[in-house]
Symmetry: C2
Subunit: 408 residues, 2 copies
């Protein structure tokens, strides 16, 4: 099929003939509207006129960055990786991924479940919404996806097939290499220049060679470690949830990378929210809820990941009987500790890059009062620095919480 960029008019023609769409809407009349909040892609909602709660999401990538326009070219092939990741994740964990109704790599288009009763986690957390099932859900998601796509589960040939499927997500990996690990820590045109100029904290960060050496090390790890299939951009804007359900969306950055990267992204964005409330609402109860969530996510991830690993005797890595039980358990403990360490290192980079880098987060850059915003930025840099300088020597999840609480 030849690629064709759709719009609200042509979209309907395209989807109306698809079996899965016909089956979903039966004979209903359909309406189409563009949802304006996609950064990278065009996102449409298709609704039944008879029953507006019956709806599907259609997402199509274009040959440029949607939020900037045609002057910022970006291969639409990114949608192929999103489609592949959605399918792969769904295979291992259907309960936390939107259902796919149709996908077409040629058209860079996917049709999926409409999450009408769910909200973007970042927005919810800023509003101090608590999600009682979130830690349970996301730790299951992380444990399952990271384990089942790693060499601890897959055989060598399957692992290499997985790498083949995602290796060429070059452009989006490059965005992370640039924006998470490089330009946010030096004078660069993509930075939040209004804030950077004459800002002593930016000057200090850009000159902090101890911090930047560690960032470079983390960048190298990001580029060369192939542990498992990652979402690649697992911040709280990539999570839609409510009191009962949690969905992970938008995995266009998916690639085979380091275990700690997705966990780190999530922790970083929970920390960003903690910082928001430290400065803006000063709500100790909600701050405590965020800290408990971080702790619970890390603890449950480890428990669940180890449980899956203990059920698996043979993999690319392990042959049954190679180590005795005690030695194998020690090996696994050491392995889990390294995942924790890397997660916190990556989290540090993910927090710091939001301060002056190209893409801020609402939790911090969205603070309207300039004084408070700078207070939040300073706190973010402090916690990020603690994480990045100390992650290699971490031994325990509680140390992570101490770093967050006492970074002032």
């Amino acid at each position: 099929m030849r690629y064709k960029e759709l719009d609200t008019n042509t979209l309907l023609d395209f989807i109306q003939d698809l079996d899965s769409v016909k089956e979903f809407f039966t004979s209903d009349e359909l309406s189409v509207a563009e949802i304006g909040d996609g950064n990278l892609n065009y996102v449409y909602i298709v609704k039944s006129k008879q029953n507006p709660n019956k709806a599907l999401i259609v997402k199509q990538a274009v040959e440029y960055l949607r939020c900037v326009g045609e002057q910022y070219p970006l291969s639409r092939q990114r949608m192929s990786f999103e489609i592949r990741a959605l399918k792969k994740f769904y295979e291992y964990l259907p309960s936390n991924l939107p259902k796919i109704y149709y996908e077409n790599e040629d058209m860079s288009l996917v049709i999926m479940q409409y999450l009408g009763e769910h909200e973007i986690m970042r927005k919810g957390l800023i509003q101090k919404t608590t999600y009682p099932k979130f830690s349970e859900h996301i730790s299951t998601y992380l444990a399952n996806i990271l384990f089942y796509t790693s060499s601890l589960y897959l055989k060598s040939d399957k692992k290499r097939e997985l790498i083949d499927e995602f290796n060429k997500n070059t452009q989006l990996c490059k965005l992370t290499e640039d924006f998470v690990f490089t330009t946010a820590y030096m004078e660069h045109e993509t930075n939040d220049s209004e804030n950077v100029n004459l800002n002593p904290h930016a000057k200090k960060l850009f000159a902090d060679m101890e911090f930047k050496s560690k960032i470079l090390h983390l960048k190298y790890k990001f580029m060369t470690q192939t542990d498992c299939l990652l979402h690649g951009d697992l911040h709280t804007g990539s999570i839609m949830l409510n009191q009962n359900e949690t969905f992970v969306i938008d995995p266009e950055f998916a690639f085979v990378g380091a275990f700690g990267f997705d966990i780190g992204a999530l922790i970083a964005n929970l920390v960003n929210n903690y910082i928001h409330h430290s400065v803006v609402t000063k709500d100790d109860e909600f701050k405590d809820y965020i800290l408990k969530t971080i702790k619970k996510v890390l603890e449950l991830f480890e428990i669940k990941f180890l449980k899956l690993w203990n059920e698996q005797n043979e993999s690319a890595l392990l042959v049954d009987g190679f180590l005795d039980e005690n030695s194998l358990n020690s090996f696994k403990s050491e392995f889990m500790k390294n995942i924790l360490r890397d997660s916190i290192g990556f989290a540090g980079a993910k927090i710091a890059r939001r301060v002056f880098g190209v893409a801020g987060v609402e939790d911090i850059r969205g603070i309207e009062n300039k004084g408070l915003r700078q207070e939040a930025e300073v706190l973010a840099l402090k916690i990020a620095r603690e994480f990045v300088i100390k992650y290699e020597n971490l031994n325990d999840i509680n140390e992570v919480l101490e770093m967050i609480k006492y970074a002032r």
Copy 2:
């Protein structure tokens, strides 16, 4: 072109029409003979009848392991990786690679320079031949190939293209995963069973959980670290040389892996030769020559690799000006130390696997006197254990030499 398995009769028909072959031999009449020493492939020598010094080597892969026969299937696709590696290595370092006259992935066939005045290094070292230019040559080879195929030189997109080219060398990587990192340390049908049964040293090795835990860690690193393009099997049987020239051959195991793996393979095989002479000839002068060679290879590799790195300001990893000069130099020192450490860890595995595993080396398994052979095996296990237990804490090349000398 459709694949066709050639033999001494059909080979001539196939190659006679090739332009590069016609140009090489002009109007000479040709003779073909099979060289019997290929383990994996068929290797032929094509000579001019008028001038027998004028010759080319033709190598063709078959759908099985040549030394075992059709009952051991092995995809002939391995030749594609050998061809790609030979071309890639030649691009960066023509002086140490055989010249390619013709290559055809469909036919799993390559025609290359005949190295008639060179010998296999392993055989030369057993005969106590010294090679005055070897350290210089091989350190240049290692520094160039490892650096120019890494993220310290390549841009992100080129690095990913390189991974794409070699990622599916699944079967040969799996051989290493099995034979270097797994089966040689446990009861297994592929081991040198005559030697293993009732051998207290085998029993001890197979029960050495501290050692095996470290091996498992090295195996994981082998499987998941993508630093640079490797030869993948750089032992002294993959090196042909004389007093003036050094050639690296047979890169069918090529893949994008950990920096330390090729260096480690080379060091391991120099150590195996050191062990041979420790036990068989007891020639202190030659043993000292081997130790000096190990030291010089490691030292020169580091100097040359750093020199290339210092000439390179921009790469996937680095943006000019990201770190100040002091910090960058510290980063590089730390990086080089990690390459040394990993090299010695991998060397340890490479030494140990030769003792009881499926493929012995002539330096040790070739010792006819059973008592001396066992003495060599015990020494090999001691040095290997030192390497594997201590590599993570190494700081200096001299420590490596100490471990070899005082492992008794």
